[in-house]
């Protein structure tokens, strides 16, 4: 490049052009000219730089500053500040240091730092329309080397040694291919380039064509030399007009300079190139279909053999590689096979370009050494998930590929490893999906794509994929049938085994891989008519309601609040969840994270609205009850008065039963009363709601412990016909460390239970709480309130991985709880028989574990001491089945909790049902409530046969809604909390909104439930 002081590189890849790069370029030229900087500042229009979602982007060298999302108006500021005064315009910079102050240089930006650009070596650096710039970057050097120093056999050998494999998807050894084709008989051979990039979302070939067309021309000329061919065709899709234009001009420039045509560089090698436009059929990416299309026929694959090495285009031997494969060739020739082979894995060498898309922060084109872990690609280069969502799966390989779930984030991205997991490298489309993606729907999307793109020639692809699509359609619409999953699998495998070409043989992959890794989502769609991601419209009345484990009619009660019909709102709420007041305080509100309002401004504050609603309840509203009938005479029992047990009893009562609850503790409420501190859930609120359930005819007998005071067998003797076990997971897990039983070491649930039931518990001066869940935070805040001098929560991962609710963590911090992340206790030190200090070990984050989080890895060099006279362990809870079920053996699940039928909560003994933490392990209140309802319905079916469940019938709320009105704009009001200074005792931290705030908030609901 020139000797100017500053170079401004404006990306004019297809993406940036679409978002206004050309206008930006013009504005930048004008701004530079206006300031008389023409002499010292040069502006270049380059090919694609990669971070397409941030486009238009520009880089200013030599500072290496990347600006993003530029509008033409920004040109003035950049010229004035950066180009004239040398000051970075921070707010336009692509990425800044975590402190937000300083812009990161190009090489420091994580998106670029871990990339290795070979194929994209010139993209974003040179002007694709200037052959001089390509030559200046060693362009056509490889061709010169080949023509002057190497025999065709040597060229082929070099490519073979490099380990380069076809980047179009199948991954056949490129060198081997050239070797075979060189051997093919015939004087007339064709060198073809597949630039019919068709995978949804993949655009690396376009990027090379647009940003570095000469690298393709050079590589094809080299290939022609290697196999003995003097004519090449580039088959470009017609949807790439910019690519066609730039390639056409580049071919012209190459011809002018004698780099294409007769006797190139004075050698005996003659080679010329022509462009053929594809007509937009995905199947034309299949090699035989591509050749058929170039011949001018309907683009359909033909059977192989004969293979194109013998009979290809016009029945002549024809070598076909894709753009990305060719683009690696010049570097391999210039730098040598061993240099290229030094990157990658044993079987997959070099680099691969991926089109990173989906729910990841940094989307765009990235080129990485093959073998990088998927997790690194997603989290380091991709910057992790957007909006704090969780990673669910990565779809790799487009419509022929598959998805990789989060417990395989460690998979090295190479050909073999991906195939093992049911995906393929493909052409490098990589779509990152979060929890909002329905795996049934996404597999349907891909199948719909191939179904549309099938050429219709062979039966399995033409009819078979259609049948698969129809099955998926009905599953998504809630009409799935028993056996549909098996039908999809069987048909999918048959199609793979019988279809004519690659398109059909891989078409079922996305579906098969989704079933393989996400079978339970398919089951939920078919069996429960549930789409957990909230995507399938027929299964999702409103995303919030869908997200609620108990299925509370959120838009219903919210809109009733908006009309001040509080009693109706509460009654509607209690149709599905009796513990409205409890949940208004402690629910982790999954509804809010799915609120569609968040796409407009902020999600609705549903829990706070609920809080406002329950505060309006003057007298207890009891739900409609059936008159005493046959059911009242049946003896049913519930063991455990926690949220699951209370919910089950409530719903049983609403069906006319009069259940008895046996509770081991002195007070009903389970974890609600034993573990959740009163500053979160005042006890009078809890008692009032339990009282409501008792008023329905539920009898609660406290101090009755299963296994101690009675057994399952004795219940049977007492005449109970059905029993619901909801004993929770009451036992804190051990840390597995020596000295755990020393004085001063306690378990969080024991600690909380002791205080909550007895009103007192010993608290140390320096308290260390180990763990990152809600129990840890509850224990920490309780200890602080009980007078601990310092409370530190030690967690082995980082804040981002903490399972505790974010609001709780934030409040704990505000109250003075300290956090020690990436640390875990390894040794307890005692002095005079008392705990004195904890030896902590520093942790780092390593591989990804099955939950998709990075695994903590110990760093023994970093051990340090924390003074502590009390250690509270909150590292998990267990069920202790042996103590409870003496006599009767209930089957347990893989996690050593009670195994039940997920539909009705029935355990392995037909009269025994179970739910809540005893089944799921430590979980949320709302999930326990949902399990109680499910079991109540299951018990009713068991006792009385199937009957109508009144609260499950769909109902219409008659609140007013004008679907044509524009949404009323307004931001989400914050929580109303008492100041930290007033949080000394166990007074409730959160208070209620004013009527004005609540009613306005209720009106923000978009009423996704509304149907004409």
């Amino acid at each position: 490049m020139s000797r100017s002081r500053c170079n401004v590189l404006i990306c004019t890849g297809g993406g940036c052009v679409a978002s206004g790069a050309l206008e930006l370029s013009a504005a930048m030229r004008a701004a530079v000219q206006k300031r008389g900087l023409d002499g010292e500042v040069q502006i270049f229009e380059t090919g694609c730089l990669g971070p397409c979602a941030a486009g238009p982007v520009a880089v200013i060298h030599p500072d290496g500053i990347l600006y993003q999302n530029l509008k033409p108006a920004d040109a003035e500021r950049i010229a004035e500040e950066h180009l004239l005064r040398g000051r970075v315009v921070k707010d336009l910079a692509y990425e800044r240091r975590p402190d937000g102050m300083e812009a990161l240089g190009l090489r420091e930006i994580p998106f670029f730092r871990r990339q290795e650009k070979i194929v994209l070596r010139n993209c974003g650096l040179i002007d694709p329309l200037k052959i001089e710039e390509y030559i200046a970057r060693d362009g056509y050097g490889a061709l010169a080397k080949v023509l002057t120093e190497m025999s065709p056999a040597q060229v082929t050998e070099e490519v073979k040694q490099s380990g380069l494999r076809g980047r179009g998807g199948a991954g056949f050894s490129t060198g081997m291919k050239w070797w075979l084709w060189r051997e093919a008989h015939g004087t007339e051979k064709y060198t073809l380039c597949n630039a019919d990039e068709g995978d949804p979302g993949a655009f690396m070939d376009r990027s090379v064509l647009e940003g570095d067309p000469h690298s393709l021309i050079e590589a094809m000329t080299i290939a022609g030399y290697a196999i003995g061919s003097s004519q090449g065709y580039v088959y470009v899709r017609a949807e790439y007009p910019l690519a066609v234009e730039r390639l056409t001009r580049a071919i012209g420039h190459a011809r002018e300079r004698g780099l294409l045509g007769k006797n190139i560089m004075g050698s005996t090698h003659s080679f010329d190139l022509e462009i053929r436009m594809g007509s937009g059929a995905f199947v034309c990416g299949e090699e035989t279909a591509l050749m058929t299309s170039i011949e001018g026929n309907r683009g359909e694959p033909r059977p192989r053999p004969p293979f194109p090495a013998f009979k290809g285009l016009w029945n002549k031997p024809s070598l076909l590689n894709n753009v990305e494969t060719y683009a690696a060739i010049p570097s391999i020739i210039l730098k040598g096979a061993s240099w290229y082979a030094s990157m990658g894995t044993a079987k997959s060498k070099g680099t691969k370009v991926f089109a990173l898309a989906g729910a990841v922060k940094n989307t765009g084109l990235v080129e990485i050494p093959i073998g990088m872990q998927l997790g690194e690609l997603v989290f380091d280069i991709g910057g992790g998930m957007r909006e704090g969502k969780t990673f669910k799966a990565a779809q790799i390989g487009g419509p022929s590929g598959g998805c990789i779930p989060r417990h395989h984030l460690n998979v090295p991205v190479d050909y073999e490893s991906l195939v093992e997991l049911g995906a393929i490298m493909g052409s490098g489309g990589l779509i990152v999906m979060d929890e909002d993606t329905c795996m049934v729907d996404i597999s349907r999307f891909f199948l719909e794509f191939v179904q549309d793109e099938s050429c219709g020639k062979c039966t399995p692809c033409r009819v078979g994929t259609r049948r698969m699509l129809e099955i998926l359609d009905r599953i998504c619409e809630g009409r799935g049938q028993e056996g549909d999953i098996e039908r999809l699998v069987d048909l999918g495998h048959t199609i793979k085994d019988t279809a004519l070409c690659g398109l059909g043989q891989t078409a079922p992959n996305p579906v098969l891989s989704a079933i393989r890794h996400f079978r339970e989502e398919f089951v939920e769609h078919i069996r429960d008519h549930k789409c957990r991601a909230g995507v399938c419209p027929e299964l999702v009345r409103a995303p919030c309601q869908n997200a609620c484990p108990a299925g509370v009619d959120v838009p219903g009660f919210v809109s009733l609040i908006g009309e001040k019909r509080f009693d109706e709102a509460l009654t509607l709420h209690r149709e599905r969840n009796p513990l409205a007041a409890v949940c208004s305080r402690v629910c982790f509100h999954p509804c809010e994270s799915k609120c569609r309002r968040s796409t407009l401004d902020d999600p609705l504050s549903i829990r706070s609205l609920k809080r406002y609603m329950v505060e309006q309840e003057k007298e207890l509203n009891l739900p409609p009850m059936p008159a005493d009938g046959e059911n009242a005479k049946r003896k049913v029992a519930v063991v455990g008065a926690g949220p699951a047990g209370l919910s089950c009893a409530y719903f049983l009562a609403r069906l006319g039963y009069r259940p008895t609850i046996f509770e081991a503790a002195s007070e009903p409420g389970g974890m609600l009363v034993q573990a959740i501190p009163a500053y979160r859930l005042p006890r009078d609120i809890l008692r009032r709601e339990i009282g409501m359930i008792e008023k329905l005819g539920v009898q609660i007998r406290t101090n009755q412990s299963l296994g101690r005071d009675f057994t399952l067998s004795s219940m049977k003797e007492m005449g109970f016909e059905a029993v619901f076990i909801a004993v929770g997971a009451p036992k804190g897990a051990s840390m597995g460390m020596t000295g755990e039983d020393a004085p001063g070491v306690t378990e969080a649930i024991d600690f909380l239970r002791q205080y909550n039931l007895t009103g007192k518990v010993p608290v140390g001066k320096n308290v260390v709480v180990v763990g990152g869940g809600n129990a840890a935070i509850d224990a920490a805040r309780t200890a602080l309130r009980l007078g601990a001098g310092s409370v530190t929560v030690a967690y082995r991962r980082t804040r981002a991985e903490m399972p505790a609710y974010r609001e709780e963590v934030e409040e704990a911090e505000r109250e003075g709880v300290k956090f020690q992340f990436l640390a875990t206790p390894v040794e307890l030190q005692q002095e005079k028989g008392k705990l004195a200090a904890v030896k902590m070990r520093r942790m780092g984050l390593g591989d990804f574990d099955r939950s998709g989080r990075r695994r903590p890895v110990a760093d023994p060099q970093g051990d340090f001491m924390m003074p502590a006279d009390q250690l509270i362990a909150a590292v998990g809870q267990t069920l202790q089945p042996n103590e409870i079920f003496n006599g009767v053996s209930l089957k347990l699940n893989d996690h050593e909790f009670i195994a039940v039928n997920p539909v009705n909560g029935q355990a392995s003994e037909e009269w025994v049902f179970a739910g809540g933490d005893a089944v799921s392990g430590p979980s949320s209140v709302i999930e326990a409530i949902a399990a109680g309802e499910k079991a109540a319905v299951g018990m009713h079916a068991f006792l009385a046969g199937k009957g109508d469940i009144p609260w499950r019938a769909p109902r219409i709320v008659d609140t007013f809604f004008d679907p044509d009105a524009d949404p009323v704009m307004g931001t989400r009001p914050g929580l109303k909390l008492i100041p930290v200074s007033r949080r000394k005792g166990f007074a409730e931290v959160e208070t209620t909104w004013s009527a004005g705030v609540a009613l306005a908030e209720a009106k923000r609901c978009l009423r996704c439930d509304y149907r004409e």
Partner: protein, 589 residues
């Protein structure tokens, strides 16, 4: 000669043999649908799948060449399951109204489903394009039954070079049909029916007019006469399970009589008439060219085959002047039946109802051409294909194979052997040469048993040269002339021949038949017409010819009588009016 193992049998096959043919050679039955020997091997239906050891997926055996040492399984569990699923998928998008289908009992899909033991459609679902095209007089296409095997596409595009139909749209919506999914009548379809002849199912067939024929028979006011083309007698037996090439002329005559036709006549009669007219036309043109030095169009091209006529009108309008103005034998018959014969029996033309039985679907089209009303009314009222006649004989409860032989009625029933061979490629030319040579030299055509061997057989384009020596005085200008003739069958071959002529090759007389093998391979013949079937039918026709006491058209006494009593002379005024026609250059849409 690769040697391979199929189901533990080791066999050697010729280079390039497909696995399907290899297995069949080994005596293994392999189901297939899209494959058509020597016509189409595209591997699209995926029914003939086989398991090749070492191959990742199953292979369509029709397109997989046999290689040395291959180990192939045609009956593994994997193969059986896959074939079954594939056929179930085909059935899931096929209107399976078998009981009311033309192909009931004669359907390749039905047979394959039966052989594979299919009892349910595991993957039922929506149906793709349903469209019935009845726009042409000859053919009915019903996409609801189409299984997209593409045999029709290949015969139309490659064998015939017409390409009226091809795959449209993509994926499940793929449909075979004319461009822009228009009607057959809107494109250049010559209505030869070769598509119908190869269709494995009931998706393409003739426009069934049996009801019209029955109605006429049942109408007491009508004198219903039937003419049967020469190709019928060598094929109609196949409708009743007789092997191809079984001659059943006598049984056919008896059956027609039993059905209730008032007179059973023979298109052979008008074939002889055609030779008289066309032979004279040829000699007249030769005389004008050689003696009068007029620029008459030569070579003369035959005009018996209506598909060929339509093809020439659309694709080669510049050669229309070369085509003989003679109507086809079918139309000559209609014209004289409603004039000469009607007069004889004292009826008006409109009271004589002419039914033709033809091996051809294009004949249905031909009968409806506006020119074909020389008698004042439509000369031919209903054209039935061989298949339709077979259907009617069944409907009539007639035990065809056991019928006694009957004889054709007079006065339009007598024929020579020369008329018989109109049924196959080279036959019209041979018949013409037998008469022309004898007219010119008063001697018999100097070929063994009167057969012009070079123009017989299934070679696509054939040529012969006949040196004329010892002419009578009247035709002495032909003395020493070597008459060069050429024959093409199948429109693809016709195109080759025309292009050859355009390239400078000179002939005097050229025979073109639309269908491969000639009329015996016509689009209305019993399915399925393969080359073996063609050869058998041709052999039967030659046998019929050789068995006739009269072998030359000009020796036909009834032909002599019609000239004497009615037409006076070939190319005379009455002939001109009744037996000759004209052609129209048409757009190539």
């Amino acid at each position: 000669m690769p040697s391979l193992t199929i189901d533990h049998k080791t066999i050697s096959v010729a280079d390039g043999t497909s696995l399907l043919e290899a297995a069949r050679q080994a005596g293994i039955h392999v189901p297939s649908l899209c494959y058509l020997k020597k016509v189409q091997a595209i591997g699209s239906c995926r029914v003939c799948l086989m398991e090749v050891e070492g191959a990742r997926s199953l292979m369509a055996s029709c397109v997989t060449p046999a290689f040395e040492g291959m180990k192939v399984h045609t009956n593994s569990a994997r193969v059986r399951a896959a074939r079954k699923t594939v056929v179930e998928l085909i059935l899931s998008d096929h209107d399976g109204d078998c009981q009311t289908c033309d192909r009931n009992g004669d359907c390749e899909l039905q047979a394959v489903a039966r052989d594979l033991g299919i009892r349910e459609i595991t993957y039922a679902g929506s149906m793709s394009v349903r469209r019935k095209d009845t726009s042409t007089p000859a053919l009915v296409r019903n996409t609801a039954k189409c299984i997209l095997c593409r045999r029709c596409v290949t015969v139309c595009g490659q064998t015939q070079g017409v390409a009226a139909i091809f795959p449209q749209k993509r994926g499940f919506q793929s449909v075979i049909g004319p461009a822009f999914t228009s009607d057959l009548a809107d494109v250049v379809c010559v209505q030869c029916g070769q598509c119908a002849a190869v269709c494995p199912v009931g998706a393409i067939g003739e426009n069934d007019e049996t009801a019209k024929a029955w109605a006429a028979i049942d109408d007491p006011k009508k004198t219903v006469v039937v003419q049967t083309a020469p190709a019928i007698r060598a094929a109609i037996g196949e409708c009743f399970g007789l092997p191809p090439g079984t001659l059943v002329t006598g049984k056919m005559v008896t059956a027609l009589r039993l059905m209730g036709f008032d007179k059973v006549f023979d298109t052979n009669f008008s074939a002889d008439l055609t030779i008289m007219e066309e032979g004279t036309e040829l000699l007249t043109r030769l005389k004008k060219a050689l003696v009068d030095k007029e620029a008459v169009p030569l070579p003369l091209l035959t005009s018996c085959s209506p598909g060929w006529i339509r093809y020439a009108e659309h694709f080669y309008p510049e050669i229309l002047p070369n085509i003989s103005t003679c109507k086809s034998p079918q139309q000559m018959f209609g014209a004289v039946a409603k004039t000469y014969y009607a007069e004889k029996i004292g009826k008006k033309a409109e009271d004589v109802f002419v039914v033709s039985v033809m091996p051809c679907t294009a004949k249905k089209y031909e009968a409806q051409r506006p020119e074909m009303t020389a008698s004042g009314v439509r000369d031919v009222d209903v054209v039935l294909t061989t298949r339709e006649l077979g259907r009617m004989i069944r409907q009539g409860g007639i035990d065809f194979p056991n019928l006694p032989d009957g004889a054709m009625d007079s006065i339009l029933g007598a024929s020579s052997g020369a008329a018989d061979i109109f049924a196959n490629t080279g036959g019209v030319m041979e018949a013409a040469l037998r008469t022309v040579y004898e007219i010119v030299t008063r001697r018999q055509l100097p070929f063994d048993n009167l057969h012009v061997a070079p123009i017989a057989g299934l070679t696509g384009v054939k040529e012969a040269a006949v040196k004329i020596e010892g002419t009578v005085r009247e035709w002495s200008f032909l003395e020493g002339v070597t008459l060069k003739v050429a024959v093409a069958h199948g429109l693809g071959n016709a195109r080759l021949l025309i292009e050859r002529m355009k390239g400078g090759e000179h002939y005097h007389f050229v025979e073109v038949m639309t269908c491969p093998g000639g009329c015996i391979g016509g689009g209305g013949q019993p399915r399925l017409t393969t080359d073996d079937v063609r050869r058998a039918r041709i052999a039967a026709i030659y046998k019929e010819d050789e068995g006739k006491p009269i072998r030359k058209s000009h020796d036909n006494p009834e032909v002599a009588a019609i000239y004497q009593e009615f037409l006076k002379k070939p190319l005379g005024e009455k002939s001109h009016h009744l037996l000759h026609t004209r052609y129209t250059a048409r757009e190539r849409v």
